[in-house]
C-alpha cells in the first residue's frame, strides 16, 4: 500500500509492518499523518520505520517519525528505526518526550457550582465598583484643595482632550439632531397649523433630553473607550504596578483627574450642544416653514423654562461621572494582554450606553413624579 504521492509504503508480513519512507518530504504539498498511517496498518505487533528511500532528511520526516512513535507507543506496539538520515535521527533524539502527567483530566464544573461562582464574581464586581465610587467621594476634596497625588499637567491635557478636542464631533451631531427634530416637528405641526410651536418642540427636546444624551453617547465612544484602552495598556505594561511601587495611588493619579475633567467638561459640552441643536432647528424652521429666526428665538424664550436647562445640566454631570468611573474601573481591572485592551474599550462603551439610558429613564420618572 502506498499513498500521498509515494511519500511512504506499508509492507506487512508476519505481524511486522515496515513503513518505508520515500521521496522529497520538503516539497510535498500533503503529508501522511501518524494517526492515519496507524489506522491503515491494522494491528501489527512490531513496526519498522525505514528511511533508505528518502531523497533528503527534511525536518518534516522527523516530525512524522516523532508523531508515529508516540502514536504506536500509546498503543503498545514496539517501534524500531532503520536507515534514517543522520539529521532526522538527531532531530528525533532532540525532541523531548511529553511528560506523562500532562493530560490533566478537566472535570466540567457542576451547574450549581458555576452559578455560584458567577454570582460571587458579580458580588465582587459590585463591591469593587462601590469601592471606586467611595474613593471618588472621599478623595474629591483632596483634589479640590490640591492635596491629591495628581499632576496638574495631566489634568490640563485631559480637559483639552475631553473638552476642546471633542467640539467638532459634538457640533456636527447636535446640529444635525436639532435639524432632524425640526423636520419631524415642522411636518407634523404644519398639518395642524401649529408651525409656530416648533420652537417649543426643538427647544424643550434639546435642552431636556437630546443634547445631554447625544453628547454623552459621543463622549462614551470617544473618551470612555480611550480612557479604558489607555489604562488597560498601562496595566499590561506594568506601568500601574510601577506607580504603586513609588507609593502613588493609581486611583488618585489616573482616575481622579479623568473624573474631574469629564465632570467639568460634560455640562459645558451639553450647553454648547443645546445651542447648536436649537440653531439646527431654527434653520429648518426658516427653510421649511419660513419662520424668521427672530420670531423663533422670541418664541423660544417664552417656551423653554430655565428648569429645562437645569434638568439637562444635572443629567450631563451624572453622565460625565458615569463615563469616567466606568472607563477607569474597566481599564484598571482589565487583563494583561492585547485582546483585553480591546475588550475593555468595547465593554466601556456598552456599559456606558446602557447606564446613560438607565439614568435618563430614572430621571424622566422622577421629574414626572415631581411634576417638573
Amino acid at each position: 500500500m502506498s499513498g500521498d504521492g509515494a511519500l511512504y509504503r506499508l509492507d506487512a508480513a508476519d505481524g511486522e509492518c515496515v513503513v518505508c519512507l520515500a521521496g522529497d518530504w520538503g516539497r510535498a504539498e500533503r503529508l501522511p499523518s501518524a494517526a492515519g498511517i496507524h489506522r491503515d496498518m491494522g494491528q501489527p505487533q512490531a513496526v519498522v520505520i525505514d528511511g533508505s528511500d528518502l531523497a533528503s532528511g527534511h525536518p518534516r520526516v522527523a516530525a512524522f517519525v516523532h508523531a508515529l512513535h508516540h502514536e504506536l507507543d500509546a498503543a503498545g506496539v514496539s517501534v524500531t528505526e532503520r536507515a534514517l538520515p543522520q539529521n532526522v535521527d538527531a532531530l528525533v533524539a532532540l525532541a523531548s518526550p511529553p511528560p506523562a502527567a500532562v493530560r490533566q483530566t478537566q472535570r466540567k464544573p457542576r451547574f450549581l457550582a458555576s452559578l455560584g461562582a458567577r454570582f460571587q464574581n458579580q458580588v465582587r464586581i459590585s463591591q469593587d465598583a462601590a469601592a471606586l465610587v467611595g474613593q471618588a467621594l472621599a478623595r474629591t476634596p483632596a483634589l479640590v484643595t490640591g492635596r491629591a497625588q495628581t499632576r496638574w499637567r495631566d489634568f490640563v491635557d485631559l480637559v483639552r482632550e475631553t473638552g476642546a478636542a471633542s467640539l467638532p464631533v459634538v457640533t456636527v451631531v447636535n446640529l444635525l439632531i436639532g435639524a432632524v427634530l425640526g423636520f419631524i416637528g415642522a411636518v407634523q405641526l404644519a398639518t395642524f397649523g401649529a408651525g409656530m410651536y416648533l420652537a417649543d418642540l426643538v427647544g424643550i427636546a434639546s435642552a431636556r433630553e437630546m443634547a445631554a444624551i447625544m453628547t454623552a453617547f459621543i463622549m462614551a465612544g470617544r473618551i470612555g473607550a480611550t480612557f479604558a484602552a489607555h489604562l488597560a495598556t498601562m496595566e499590561s505594561n506594568e506601568e500601574i504596578d510601577a506607580l504603586r511601587m513609588i507609593g502613588v495611588s493609581p486611583f488618585e493619579f489616573l482616575a481622579l483627574p479623568r473624573l474631574a475633567a469629564l465632570t467639568l467638561m460634560m455640562p459645558l459640552l451639553y450647553l454648547y450642544g443645546t445651542a447648536l441643536a436649537i440653531v439646527g432647528g431654527m434653520v429648518v424652521a426658516h427653510i421649511v416653514l419660513g419662520t424668521p429666526p427672530i420670531a423663533f428665538i422670541e418664541r423660544l424664550q417664552d417656551a423653554v423654562a430655565f428648569r429645562q436647562f437645569v434638568i439637562g445640566l444635572i443629567k450631563s454631570v451624572a453622565f460625565g461621572i458615569l463615563i469616567a468611573l466606568t472607563s477607569c474601573y474597566i481599564g484598571l481591572h482589565a487583563g494583561r494582554n492585547a485582546a483585553e485592551v480591546g475588550r475593555a474599550a468595547t465593554r466601556t462603551v456598552v456599559v456606558c450606553i446602557i447606564g446613560i439610558i438607565s439614568i435618563d429613564a430614572v430621571a424622566a420618572l422622577c421629574t414626572n413624579a415631581l411634576g417638573i
Binding site: 503529508l31 523531548s96 485582546a339
Partner: protein, 266 residues
C-alpha cells in the same frame, strides 16, 4: 570571513548584505554595512545599546526599508514586489522577536500552527503532528493548549522559537534571545539554539549584547559602532577579543572601562 569584497560575485548560498545604510529621516543609524552569513553558521550582531542592532535585523527581514544597499538571501532579494516570490522567501525566514510577540489570544499550539496554515497545504492532523514535534524540539512537549500568559519567560522564548522554526526555515533571526532570562535558562537557550542549528542546518542571525551567550554560540560576528556609525569589527568573537585593534570592541568584549580622552585631560 564576515568581511565582503564589494566587487566579488554574489555567493549562491547564504545571506549577503552590501553597502547598507540605515537612517531615520536625516539621522543616520549605521552606514556602509557589508557582511556575509555562511549557511548553517551562527552570526551575531553585537554592539552597545542604541547602536542599531535591532534596526539592522529589522532591515534584513524587511520590516524596515533603506534606499541604499542590497540584502540578498541565496542570491535573491527579499525586497521584491512580486507577492508570490516574496511569500516564498518569507516562508524561509523565521523570527524570534525580543518580546517573543506570541499572539496572546491564541494558545501556544495555535501560535505554532498559524504559519503552517497560511503557508502550506497541510491538513489539520498533519499540522498537529508538526506542531507537537516543534514544541517537543524546544522542550515544550504537550503544552499546546496553554495560553502564552500561562508560560514563564523562558518558556515563552522557547514557544517563540518553536513558532519561528514552524516552517523549517533556512534563516532564523533572533532578537536578543537571552534578554531578561536568568543565566541557567539563558545557557539552556543557547544550547538549544546550537542543537537546532546542527540538526536543522539553519543559518542563525542573532542580535545580542550578552557576552557569555555571544562567546558560546557565535561562529562569526559583526560589531556595530555607535560613534563612527558603521561596523568596525568582523570575525569570530573568541578571536576578536584577543586580537582586535579597536579599543571600543575590546572594551565591549572584555567588559573593560574605555580610556576616555576627555577624562585623561581633565
Amino acid at each position: 570571513m564576515a568581511e565582503l569584497n564589494p566587487d566579488a560575485p554574489m555567493p549562491e548560498k547564504g545571506l549577503v548584505v552590501r553597502g547598507l545604510r540605515m537612517a531615520f529621516g536625516d539621522t543616520v543609524v549605521q552606514h556602509d554595512l557589508s557582511f556575509y552569513v555562511a549557511p548553517a553558521n551562527i552570526f551575531v550582531i553585537m554592539g552597545v545599546s542604541g547602536c542599531g542592532k535591532s534596526t539592522l535585523l529589522r532591515h534584513i527581514i524587511d520590516l524596515q526599508r533603506s534606499d541604499v544597499g542590497d540584502i540578498c538571501f541565496d542570491g535573491q532579494r527579499l525586497i521584491n514586489d512580486d507577492p508570490a516570490e516574496r511569500a516564498m522567501l518569507q516562508s524561509r525566514i523565521g523570527v524570534l522577536f525580543q518580546s517573543t510577540a506570541l499572539w496572546s489570544s491564541m494558545t501556544v499550539g495555535e501560535n505554532v500552527a498559524l504559519p503552517m496554515q497560511l503557508h502550506t497545504q497541510l491538513r489539520p492532523p498533519e499540522i498537529r503532528d508538526q506542531v507537537a514535534f516543534k514544541l517537543a524540539l524546544v522542550g515544550l512537549a504537550g503544552q499546546e493548549s496553554k495560553m502564552p500568559s500561562e508560560l514563564s519567560g523562558g518558556m515563552q522564548k522557547r514557544a517563540g522559537l518553536a513558532r519561528a522554526i514552524a516552517l523549517d526555515p533556512d534563516y532564523l533571526f533572533l532578537d536578543e534571545p537571552s534578554a531578561g532570562l536568568d543565566p541557567i535558562t539563558s545557557q539552556r537557550l543557547d544550547a538549544l539554539i546550537m542543537r537546532l542549528r546542527d540538526a536543522l542546518g539553519v543559518s542563525v542571525i542573532a542580535v545580542s549584547h550578552e557576552l557569555p551567550s555571544i562567546f558560546t554560540i557565535a561562529d562569526d560576528s559583526i560589531y556595530l559602532d555607535n560613534e563612527s556609525k558603521t561596523a568596525i569589527a568582523h570575525g569570530n568573537p573568541r578571536e576578536l577579543v584577543e586580537n582586535t585593534p579597536e579599543p571600543r570592541v575590546r572594551a565591549f568584549l572584555k567588559r573593560e572601562p574605555i580610556d576616555e580622552p576627555a577624562r585623561e585631560s581633565a
